[in-house]
């Protein structure tokens, strides 16, 4: 999600952004991932059974990751997820007339924020970041 935050910071003056929080991809009671258990932040939840639980995890997500991108949570009928075939993660760009202008692939393998950046760069110009300075050897 770090790439998305960077893109948001680079292009928020030109485009709107909306994160849509959907069903958990790897909850403990379904397809749990060892990487989540090993994660230093211990990202382990069961699949929410009601909206309150989903909202609580979403709040935990924004708080822990200091996530600043505008945020909405899918209802428990998973209407947004279904309409956009968005599980487990996906990116879209809608143009000013409300039409799909970019449709990304399903994550994790085809989830590519670079394509979103390229779309925005083509319209609004590229935003370059200085290369990180190489670490000094002691």
């Amino acid at each position: 999600m770090g790439d998305i935050v960077q893109i948001y910071n680079d292009y928020k003056d030109h485009a709107d952004f909306l994160t849509i929080y959907i069903r958990e991809a790897h909850p403990l009671d379904e397809w749990r991932m060892r990487s989540n258990e090993k994660d230093k932040d211990d990202v382990c939840y069961v699949q929410p059974r009601n909206l309150g639980q989903r909202v609580a995890i979403a709040n935990d997500f924004t708080r822990r990751l200091k996530f600043t991108v505008p945020f909405g949570i899918d209802e428990m009928n998973n209407a947004a997820e279904g309409a956009y075939a968005a599980w487990p993660e996906r990116l879209y760009i809608l143009d000013e007339s409300g039409r799909v202008s970019y449709k990304g692939g399903n994550g994790p393998f085809k989830y590519d924020p670079k394509e979103v950046r390229a779309w925005l760069a083509q319209r609004y110009g590229e935003v370059k970041h200085p290369e990180p300075a190489p670490e000094k050897k002691s």
């Binding site: 994160t19 959907i22 991932m33 990487s35 209802e75 947004a80 997820e81 993660e89």
Partner: protein
């Protein structure tokens, strides 16, 4: 005849084992391969939406857990980048 059936069974058994090994590598482990088959594949869709289609609307809930708004309300006059995902 029995011998032919045996070879067919061995062939298809080998295919299943190969597919399981491949899926295990792709998913990250044997347990994850089962998780992928059981939980990921039924929910992972290409979707019917295409570039140029009118974007579907849906109601969302704000982080306060009570305020409702629609995707369409955020798509006025400027492009809207939608980022779908979850914590896990």
């Amino acid at each position: 005849m029995i011998r032919i059936l045996l070879w067919i069974a061995i062939f298809f058994g080998g295919l299943v084992i190969l597919a399981y090994v491949g899926l295990s590598i792709l998913a990250g482990g044997p347990r994850d391969a089962i998780g992928m088959l059981r939980f990921a594949l039924p929910h992972m869709h290409l979707g019917k939406l295409r570039v140029g289609d009118s974007a579907p609307d849906a109601q969302l809930v704000a982080l306060d857990g009570t305020t409702r708004f629609h995707i369409r309300e955020r798509n006025i006059g400027r492009p809207l980048v939608l980022v779908f995902g979850s914590f896990t």
